[in-house]
Symmetry: C2
Subunit: 467 residues, 2 copies
């Protein structure tokens, strides 16, 4: 009986599993914490280590790219087929801070294999999910007998994602030609659960601003002046209260302009996910759901734009009391955006709304930080179909679709490369991203390997001449 490609892939993975895990553990031992300056050398070592390993994997090109901050790694393996599509895999090699005293059962930078889970900082976010691409491409070659991947394969592995990717946009604009691709595959997200493998089809965008209201030129006595002059703390509250109408819709005129509404098919697919409100609330550490009328919780977090208060402050916040009218008050707002919303338009709408809402006698300033555009790949996009198909083969079950409520540098790739962004992640909510005792499930990690082993062939076959 001749081996099917699937069993050839599985056999290859099984045979290389131990070495793969050993290598990953070696990488996880490098504490590449980008947010902590005293780990700058470790982040540099992590980049060097990865570039070396990618060369050993077979990538003809594997380079460390310097930035004004931490270095990124770029690798490239041309297909040799002039009709093959080009794919850029995005991930990051830096990790969140971690210390034993935060509640880790073991040293966060000494990987521990226990009950088929690998515990270490970065095991899931994101070293594990970057690293499955190495064994994946080898399995792809071994099972197909090829000497180069079926697609032009590029990897861009950032070193500052956990620090907010401050130089990423500049990096990809500088190297725009070298990273050019027909599709971006982001391996820095997760799936619904172990039993319900999913593909994410989009991330929300993000516009953030700070609004400061200035009232009296200094704090004044609330006994002497209270009730007769505008109080910026009261007015900031009124401004926030005016953000939403009584149905939870964002009440800023023009905010929803241009948005791509959920299709009936998308709503049906989301509704099919085995959503359990109680367990979702436990994950959210919250005690009730609350939001825009007419939408389910998943729709609210994945597919609806929001206005959220990240911080509010003004006046006296210490122990006891202080009878003042504060001189100023501020609010930090973040707006999650969905496909069709334009960052500039949202900014202008917020500015106009604030100007119209703040009363006489209060001066206001609105400061926006650079935003992140939303990204969304239509369900019928051929590259998305390939990802779902490859995952389906690996998991041997149908793949469902999710979205991601957060926002990420993936959107910058979408903009700069003018390419659709796809998400391939095998991490699950219990993996503990950014938390103590982060882990990855070995079975799922190897499903990630297997998915990529199928994906390049599927993409090349079904999406030729994409350029």
């Amino acid at each position: 009986m001749s081996e099917t490609p699937d069993s050839a892939v599985r056999t290859y993975i099984e045979n290389h599993r131990a070495a793969f895990l050993q290598d990953l553990a070696e990488w996880l031992r490098i504490p590449s914490v980008s947010a902590q300056p005293d780990h700058a050398e470790d982040v540099r070592r992590s980049a060097e280590w990865l570039a070396g390993r990618l060369k050993e994997t077979g990538f003809p090109t594997a380079e460390v790219w310097q930035t004004p901050g931490a270095p990124a790694v770029f690798a490239e393996w041309p297909s040799g087929d002039p009709h093959a599509p080009t794919v850029l895999v995005y991930g990051h090699h830096d990790v969140q801070p971690a210390a034993r005293e935060d509640g880790w059962h073991t040293d966060p930078f000494e990987p521990v294999l226990q009950e088929n889970r690998l515990y270490a900082r970065g095991a899931a976010d994101d070293k594990g999910q970057v690293f499955f691409h190495t064994l994946g491409v080898r399995a792809h070659l071994a099972a197909t007998g090829r000497t180069a991947p079926a697609v032009n394969l590029k990897l861009l592995i950032e070193g500052e994602e956990e620090s907010g990717s401050p130089h990423f946009r500049e990096l990809i604009e500088t190297h725009k030609d070298r990273i050019a691709a027909d599709a971006v595959i982001v391996s820095d997200t997760g799936m619904w659960s172990k039993d319900t493998p999913t593909v994410c089809t989009g991330m929300r965008g993000l516009a953030e601003c700070e609004i400061v209201l200035h009232g009296p030129d200094q704090d004044i006595h609330s006994g002497s002046f209270g009730g007769a002059v505008p109080n910026p703390a009261t007015e900031i509250a009124r401004l926030v209260a005016a953000l939403h109408d009584e149905n939870g819709h964002v009440a800023i005129p023009g905010f929803y302009e241009g948005i791509t509404e959920l299709t009936d098919q998308e709503r049906e697919l989301l509704a099919e996910l085995p959503f359990d409100e109680e367990s979702w609330l436990r994950t959210a550490k919250s005690h009730a759901t609350h939001g825009e009328a007419g939408y389910s919780t998943l729709e609210r977090v994945w597919a609806r734009p929001t206005a959220e208060v990240n911080g509010i402050g003004g006046g006296y916040q210490g122990a006891g009391s202080k009878t003042i009218i504060p001189s100023s008050a501020l609010v930090k707002l973040s707006f999650r955006l969905v496909a069709g919303q334009d960052l500039d338009h949202v900014e202008q709408a917020v500015r106009a709304w604030a100007a119209a809402t703040v009363p006489a006698g209060i001066r206001h300033t609105v400061t926006f930080s650079p935003g992140t555009r939303p990204c969304l790949t239509p369900l019928d996009h051929p590259a998305l179909r390939s990802v779902a198909r490859a995952m389906g083969r690996a998991f041997e079950q149908p793949i469902r679709f999710t979205r991601e409520g957060g926002s990420g540098p993936a959107a910058d790739l979408q903009d700069v490369l003018a390419a659709p962004v796809l998400f391939l992640g095998i991490s699950i909510p219990s993996d503990g991203w950014h938390a103590p005792n982060e882990k990855v499930e070995i079975d799922l990690l190897l499903k990630g390997v297997e998915t990529t082993a199928y994906l390049w062939g599927d993409l090349a076959e079904n999406w030729r001449d994409a350029r």
Copy 2:
């Protein structure tokens, strides 16, 4: 031509003016800053100094009363007339902190006489206004030929007013019998202006609380959960926005219950004051007036109850942004109360309102600090008429009526002694209470002396057998 009592009083004051100012300067040199522990000894010295000076003035009794904090001074001078009313003068001998580097042109504790003003910390608040009672009672005796004042005169001069009077209530309850009086005269406020002498007829009460809203058990990611769970920072803003209706009325059900509305006569008298909105706004360091519809600025700050935000806070308030839904948010509210409002009733109304306003999924706590009751003396009260008449003689012009928007320990005296509280102060807004370069106008200080020289006789004559 025989001397009228008024000219006798004036002559006496003129003759003793230099010594009076010299004595006051000696007292002002003692830096009796109650809020600074390293000045505890100075506050004690200040009390001893005052008790000594009151004995020299002629008070048969002058004692230093210890408290768990800074000492008070009590002095008593019986009239000898069994029908005479008893008056308790309240003031304080402690002062606000002051340092040259805060913007003082001269050493705050080295009094400087310049252009008929005495500059020093405490010159107006409150040593100057306490001290005019010493020369005042001597002038009263000299002009009338009496050997004891026409009223039973008591003085209670606190040592912790600038630290929030933490032991005052306990002090006056302990010594309730010795300080018993038919009327309290507070000499710790001011007048409208140099050209418009006024008597204050009441102070607002004060109820203060902190409301904390608890949402998620810890800060959660606003990308992952935003738009689908209640956000305590948003909810605290909505709570604050619900404090007032669109006319600026406090919207807490039951808040206005029982209040004594302004009479037409009071509104007319207030409207007669030479109020200049621009200059008031300059004093308020504010850029617009704003408040309850249907009331003037003076009515709003003196005679209407208010709900004011002294502080609001929750979530991230530092530089840049942080995409969280905060776990909790708080607001510090103060309610100014007017005559007829009951502290307990207001507290219950606020608690009921908060419970009814905070949405599901948000836990809330409301914590009230001990409150201060409002006090108000009717315009036709005989003791108030006496104060106005005595001031009218001293200033040689009609006296107008004001109120005080703030709240003070005077209300405790009103409660414990069950006696009306009257206000006799000669300080003016430009005196710079709590600010650098505090001063008192010598002419006005001596008008204070002169007023008390007339007051005791007037009170005894027009308000006999008050007990």
